[in-house]
C-alpha cells in the first residue's frame, strides 16, 4: 500500500545560513559595529586597499576577517599594519558563510563601535548569495578587468552598495574607459555608489575614508539610540 504524501515546507534553501547571518547582525547592531563584506574577483587589489585603508584610519578600532581557500598570506599582510586579523580558510569552499563569520567574530572579541572588514574569497559568483550579517557589500573592481565585468557578473554588483574602481593609476596604460565601467555598473544596479581609487598612489582614498567614517558614525548612532 502506497502511503505517499506531501509535506509543504516553503523554506529558503539557504535558511540555515540566514539564521547564522541574522545572529551576527544582532551582535553587530547591539555593539554599534559596522561590518563591510568586501567582494571581488581574485587580484582586484582588495588586500592592498585594505592595508592602505587601515593606515589611513589611524587608531580607529578595527579588525579584519580574511577569507581564502588556502594560506595565511593575507592575514599576515593585514597584521603587518598592526590591525587584528583572523584568517578563515574555506578549503574547497568558494565563499564565506554566516557560520564561519560568527566564529571569527567571537575569536576577534570586537569592541563596541569598531569597524569590521570581511574580505571574502575572491569570487564574483557565490559570495553574492551568502548573507554574512554585514551592513553592506563593497565590490572592488580593478580597471584592468574589462569594462563589461559588471555585465558578466551582474548579481554581485547588484548586491553591492558601493563599487570601488581600483588601480586607476593603471588606466592610461591599458586602454580602458572609466566612464563605461560606471555606465555598466549603473546598468546592473542603478542605485550603486561608485568611487575611483588607486590604493597604490592614494588617489581617491580620501573619499573612501570619508565614506567609511560616515557609515560608521551612522551605525554607532543607531547602536546608541537602541
Amino acid at each position: 500500500m502506497s502511503q505517499e504524501r506531501l509535506i509543504e515546507i516553503e523554506t529558503d534553501i539557504l535558511s540555515k545560513n540566514d539564521r547564522y547571518a541574522e545572529a551576527n547582525r544582532a551582535v553587530l547592531r547591539d555593539r554599534g559595529i559596522l561590518a563591510l563584506n568586501l567582494v571581488s574577483s581574485p587580484g582586484s587589489g582588495k588586500t592592498t586597499l585594505l592595508c592602505r585603508t587601515i593606515e589611513a584610519l589611524g587608531d580607529l578600532p578595527l579588525a579584519v576577517i580574511e577569507g581564502d581557500q588556502q594560506t595565511e598570506n593575507d592575514a599576515d599582510r593585514i597584521r603587518a599594519t598592526g590591525a587584528r586579523a583572523v584568517q578563515v580558510n574555506t578549503g574547497k569552499g568558494c565563499h564565506l558563510d554566516g557560520h564561519m563569520v560568527g566564529h571569527a567574530m567571537a575569536h576577534l572579541a570586537l569592541e563596541p563601535g569598531a569597524l569590521l572588514f570581511i574580505e571574502n574569497v575572491g569570487n564574483l559568483v557565490c559570495p553574492a548569495a551568502f548573507d554574512l550579517g554585514e551592513d553592506g557589500k563593497v565590490a572592488i573592481l580593478s580597471v584592468t578587468e574589462g569594462e563589461d565585468k559588471p555585465l558578466k557578473y551582474p548579481d554581485m554588483f547588484t548586491a553591492a552598495r558601493l563599487a570601488i574602481l581600483n588601480k586607476t593609476d593603471l588606466a592610461p596604460h591599458c586602454d580602458v574607459d572609466l566612464d563605461l565601467y560606471e555606465t555598466n555598473l549603473r546598468r546592473v544596479n542603478p542605485g550603486i555608489e561608485i568611487l575611483r581609487v588607486s590604493a597604490r598612489t592614494g588617489a581617491g582614498m580620501d573619499a573612501w575614508i570619508a565614506w567609511l567614517r560616515s557609515e560608521l558614525a551612522a551605525k554607532r548612532f543607531a547602536g546608541a539610540a537602541q
Binding site: S2, Q3, E4, R5, L6, I7, E8, I9, E10, T11, D12, I13, L14, S15, K16, N17, K92, G93, C94, H95, V125, C126, A128, A129, L151, P154, D155, T158, R186, R187, V188, N189, P190, G191
Partner: protein
C-alpha cells in the same frame, strides 16, 4: 561549486524536516527558483543526485518551478517582468533595471513515502 553548496543547503533542510515528520524516504523534492537566482539547472540536477546519496532523499526526483524575474525600470519607474537579467525594459526600452523579485531559492514541498 555554487550548485553543490545549494544542494548541501537542500540536504540540510530535508534532513531537519524528515526528523521532524518521522520520514524515512523522500521521493520527490520540489523547488522554486527565480530566474535571477543564478542557478544553472543542469548543474543543479547533477549536484542534487550526488549530494543526496546516503540521505533520506537518495534517488529522489527533483522538480523545479521557475519563478519570473521582476525589476523596476529606473527610466520609466514601472515594475516590469523580464526573462534575462540584462534585458531592456519591455515598456520603454530603458537599460537601467533594478531586480525586485526573481532571486528566490526555496524548497516548496517534499513528497514522502
Amino acid at each position: 561549486m555554487h550548485e553543490m553548496s545549494i544542494c548541501e543547503g537542500i540536504r540540510g533542510v530535508i534532513e531537519d524536516q524528515a526528523r521532524a515528520h518521522n520520514v524515512t524516504r523522500v521521493t520527490r523534492v520540489r523547488l522554486e527558483i527565480g530566474r535571477f537566482a543564478g542557478v544553472e539547472l543542469d548543474a543543479l540536477d547533477f549536484a542534487f543526485e550526488v549530494v543526496m546519496r546516503g540521505s533520506v532523499a537518495e534517488g529522489a526526483a527533483l522538480a523545479v518551478i521557475q519563478l519570473p524575474g521582476r525589476a523596476l525600470c529606473y527610466d520609466c519607474m514601472k515594475p516590469v517582468e523580464i526573462n534575462h537579467r540584462l534585458d531592456p525594459c519591455p515598456d520603454c526600452g530603458g537599460g537601467k533595471l533594478m531586480p525586485q523579485e526573481g532571486d528566490e531559492m526555496r524548497i516548496k514541498d517534499l513528497e514522502v513515502a
